[in-house]
Amino acid sequence: MKFLRVLVWIAVAVAGAAGLAAIAFERNEPLNATWFIVAAICTYLIAYRFYSSFIAAKVLALDATRATPAERLDDGRDFVPTNKWVLLGHHFAAIAGPGPLVGPTLAAQFGYLPGTLWLIVGAVLGGCVQDFVILLCSIRRDGKSLGQMAREEVSRRGGFIAQLAVLAIMVILLAVVGLVLVNALKASPWGMFTLAMTIPIALLMGLYLRFWRPGRVLEASAIGVTLILLDVFAGQWVANAPTWARVFSFSAPALAIAIIIYGFAASSLPVWMLLAPRDYLSAFIKAGAVWAMAVGIVIVRPVVQMPALSRFADGTGPVFAGKIFPFCFITIACGAVSGFHALISSGTTPKMIMRETNARLVGYGAMLMESFVGVMAMIAACALSPGVYFAMNSPPAIVGSTVESAARTISNWGYAVAPQTMTDLAHMVGEQTLLNRTGGAPSLAVGMAQIFSHTIGGAHLMALWYHFAIMFEALFILTVLDAGTRVGRFMVQDLLGHVSKPLGRAGWYPGILFSSLLITGAWGYFLYWGVMDPLGGINSLWPLFGIANQLLAAVAFVVATTILLKMGKQRYLWVTLGPAAALVAVTMTASCEKIFSADTRLGFLAAANQMAAHIASGTVPAAQVAETSRLIFNQRLDAVVTATLALMVLVLVVEASYEWIRIWTSSKAPVMHEAPYVRTQWAEGD
């Protein structure tokens, strides 16, 4: 039996190696997406079976006899012992956001190879390890947050940096997802109508759950999902009726303002009214769409049309500027390693876990699933013709704003695309144009629609599938906006409480409105000027988001390394120290390039100086001087934000290194802040 098991694992390893080899070395003929699936799944299986089991046994020494906080502090509200498979579902729903869909789509500009390899390797050696280790550290500390653990185990300053990083990432994240939404819905009456209708649908669900059937989420969601699907279908009638099409056609700046107002309202309203029901809807649609995409890819087995390495590996890409190192890693972010996951792993999940040994499945396993979502997004983006991909994801400042100019520019890069192709594709998906739709969401939607329509319905359902995909992306981007603005509001209220006690009170309405205004104003500012940016905003904001996210991951790994050191696990420090070093190298290099590069598309200061020189030389028309001055200010602001993030990394690394040396040389006794061991009262099979 053991021999058979060994044979099975050898077969999995060989299949995985063959998949990775095909992705890495096949150049002569178009590659089938099946290789991506085989490579990813076999690597995940090997990593889960061997690497996570090594971490569980040797590094963390998981102890099934140790009572978890869910058992000791069970209150049926925060601390709730939960079946491991149910908790895996909960945890995955919490960590899966728009990042692993958008990041790989944008990173496809380098070709499929760098992004796919980082999605797979980065996840098994970095992201999964982070989620797993932080989850276990939090379980052993009664569910403490990353910030609390950083404060207690590293230093007070470490805790402060973690909190500041969370607030920074929140503001930039909300701005960038808002921008993705604007670019997906501008001048799209079908998409806009579909999304607008989700508001009354969510309100109806909210009333149902609040007054008629409290807590019956399945019933309310069944009603909501049915209405949403009808809503997607009805969108085509709106798009085809000229009067209604005008009502639901928004320009990009108008849409940005509408989203900012919506964010403010959603964060100030009672949570049962809009936020919670939208979250339920989003979770169902998300789960359905991700499964449908997986099944669709397996059935259709699309051919990947993007080359393994595009000509933009040299850093001159139109989607965003910068070379593969470090910008592929910064751009992929959540699909491979996400600092934000450390907040979930030290939030609700550790309070619900029944046994320490379940942390492996929940922490490591859920991140493997997230990485697979990223691989599917990469397949969907790379299944598009490269010419179409670049026409959709390039800003007008680079390829022009007509299909003719875009086709000419992109064909000159070596990726042939005819103007008629773009016009026909737009017509096929029920849009006026697909040109310059930066941000990744529309190109991912076209990729998904192609896969879905090959599975069900054929070409004449392409428009319906496209708008279903847009609705799916928009719905959970709005959920992130709602929930993020609300949590950001609490953080701001927390800070304001130090200045004025009433402003810090959670129930005082003027305080709620004021702090909502501050947090919405902060991300709204970046969103609005991202929309006005001639290079499309994504070029500046997505790398900024990636840097902030990876910074938070570096914080998590530094905290984990400190804890391992205190546990006396010096032999295994490489497990967390390796990813920490890689992330510090990536964030520091990216930060330096974003601030100081002489390339005006890459360096914030170079771009600001160039615009200032244009004003000085009189080449900017008088009517545009004020707006250009504002863009100059924004570029400098982005440089300051990036420098602050990089400085935070440096301070934390220096602080933690000092702590490590003192522990290593025994000049300081390691003090752990774990909850004391209590033997579980549950039988083994519970």
């Binding site: 709730v80 807590g215 049962w272 959540c334 939030g347």
Partner: protein, 70 residues
């Protein structure tokens, strides 16, 4: 045949229960079970929340901290 039907029924019930647990439909039942478990313990004097109160309370808790990722 009966055995197969029974197995299928049990699998369907398990799947349905798992679904209810994942989406939160079973949260109030879990809360009541937890209250009963510790009735003789530390929460002896605590008032038991009604289903509506529990629902609103759980929403307030969930959305006061980071519950969704990027």
């Amino acid at each position: 045949m009966n055995e197969i039907m029974n197995r299928a029924r049990r699998a369907a019930v398990t799947a349905w229960q798992a679904m209810r647990e994942i989406v939160g439909d079973a949260a109030y039942e879990n809360y009541l079970r937890s209250v009963r478990r510790s009735a003789a313990g530390r929460r002896e004097n605590c008032a038991v929340l009604s289903e509506r109160e529990f629902y609103l309370d759980s929403l307030k808790r969930r959305y006061s901290r980071i519950s969704r990722c990027c």
